[in-house]
């Protein structure tokens, strides 16, 4: 289904003047923060269409209502390998803003209504573009 989801999302992106710019993954095991083969393969496929693609690994042990340190690490494609960007370089435009928005979403339990592509396949009416959540994020900005 990865084939289907990437193609469908890519088509939608072109329609709406977006581009698939990267892939993020949060591993099942909290202590495992490195990308696995699957993540690298998906990100490499994305990089074929967008050379500056980013592979982002979420560090769940760092996620809390008030995390001052960024909870993500960004990997970039160099020489066919995914290398972690230096953690001292800012990974985000504005982490403290992002963190504030994230806390608000966590408190509201927005994750209960978050739809991913699997949910979409279960019921086509589930919208993987998550318009409501995206609206809330804009409100919170």
């Amino acid at each position: 289904m990865m084939e289907i989801s990437l193609t469908l999302i890519d088509t939608w992106c072109k329609e709406n003047k977006y581009v698939i710019a990267g892939y993020y993954q949060a591993n099942e095991r909290i202590k495992e923060t490195r990308p696995n083969q699957f993540a690298e393969k998906v990100a490499a496929r994305i990089a074929e269409n967008f050379s500056e693609a980013a592979l982002i690994m979420v560090d769940n042990s760092k996620i809390s209502m008030s995390c001052y340190d960024p909870a993500i690490s960004v990997f970039e494609h160099h020489d066919n390998k995914w290398k972690c960007r230096d953690a001292s370089i800012d990974c985000c435009e504005d982490w403290s803003e992002a963190q504030k928005i994230m806390s608000a979403l966590l408190e509201d339990r927005s994750y209960d209504s978050l739809i991913d592509f699997d949910n979409h396949l279960d019921d086509l009416r589930n919208d993987w573009t998550n318009p409501e959540i995206n609206k809330s994020i804009l409100h919170l900005c």
């Binding site: 289904m1 084939e3 289907i4 193609t7 469908l8 088509t11 086509l124 919208d127």
Partner: protein
């Protein structure tokens, strides 16, 4: 509230936060009215509490269950799960090994042992234990094929089997996968994964240089049918809003772009 908990139990939902919310109130305010149901509710709430890091609640439930069912393997397994949640893996392992010494056929304990190995990142050992577990029950319903035979009406097993075959690749496996996707659809004509799977497998077979002209022709037909069904499903799901009009177009274009024309 009782009915909600029962529904979640029966459908195997893992909505732990909700279970804790509903269950905690039920236990605290209405325990006396629950009769014998209370024990299974304690179990359900305890597991959910572990998911939500509510060790206090988990202990309360475990305490009551221990009092009522002294020496029970089922309760011992719950105690083991709590130790796992606290990452006290060695103590948890001891619990499960105790159970297995008493009763070597206890699948729940075996399953937990594998879960511990997985949690510790010891994948090779986990796989070894898993193989032992499967060998022990090799004849029983632990492979997809057996599951399908004993559950012929279950479209999900069919579809999962089809996906496995699809991933394995090669013309024979693709044809098998197409057949099982088709079977899953017969059992549930709204299974989207089966529909997409049918489309992909038929398209790949049709595009292969290794198949005869007749096989190509047949698979082009199957793929075309699947594509029309996919379009129809999206049309039915849409409500004519701007967003869905876009995704309808996206689906059509996606199907076109993936169309592998026979040479």
């Amino acid at each position: 509230m009782r009915d909600k908990l029962r529904k979640w139990r029966e459908e195997n939902y893992r909505n732990s936060e909700q279970i804790v919310e509903v269950g905690e109130e039920l236990i605290q305010e209405h325990a006396s009215k629950l009769g014998d149901d209370i024990w299974i509710i304690y179990e359900q709430v305890m597991i959910a509490a572990l998911d939500c890091s509510r060790d206090d609640l988990a202990m309360t439930c475990l305490h009551e269950l221990k009092k009522q069912f002294q020496g029970s393997h089922r309760v011992k397994r719950l105690a083991g799960m709590r130790l796992e949640a606290l990452e006290r893996y060695d103590e948890a392992l001891k619990m499960y090994n105790d159970i297995l010494q008493d009763d070597s056929t206890n699948t729940a304990a075996r399953k937990r042992k594998i879960a511990i190995l997985k949690a510790q990142g010891k994948s090779t050992e986990a796989i070894r234990e898993l193989n032992e577990y499967l060998e022990h029950y090799a004849k029983a319903a632990f492979s997809l094929e057996e599951l399908m035979m004993t559950n012929p009406h279950n479209h999900l097993y069919c579809e999962q089997y089809a996906e496995v075959k699809y991933t394995q690749g090669g013309i024979e496996n693709l044809e098998l996968s197409r057949k099982y996707f088709a079977q899953a659809l017969k059992l549930n004509n709204r299974n989207m994964r089966a529909l997409f799977g049918l489309y992909l497998s038929a398209s790949h077979i049709a595009a292969s240089p290794k198949v005869s002209a007749k096989v190509k022709k047949d698979n082009v037909k199957y793929a075309a049918w699947a594509a029309s069904q996919i379009n129809r499903a999206y049309q039915l799901a849409g409500h004519g809003t701007k967003e869905t009009k876009c995704s309808l177009k996206a689906v059509e274009e996606m199907l076109e772009s993936m169309q592998i024309m026979p040479s």
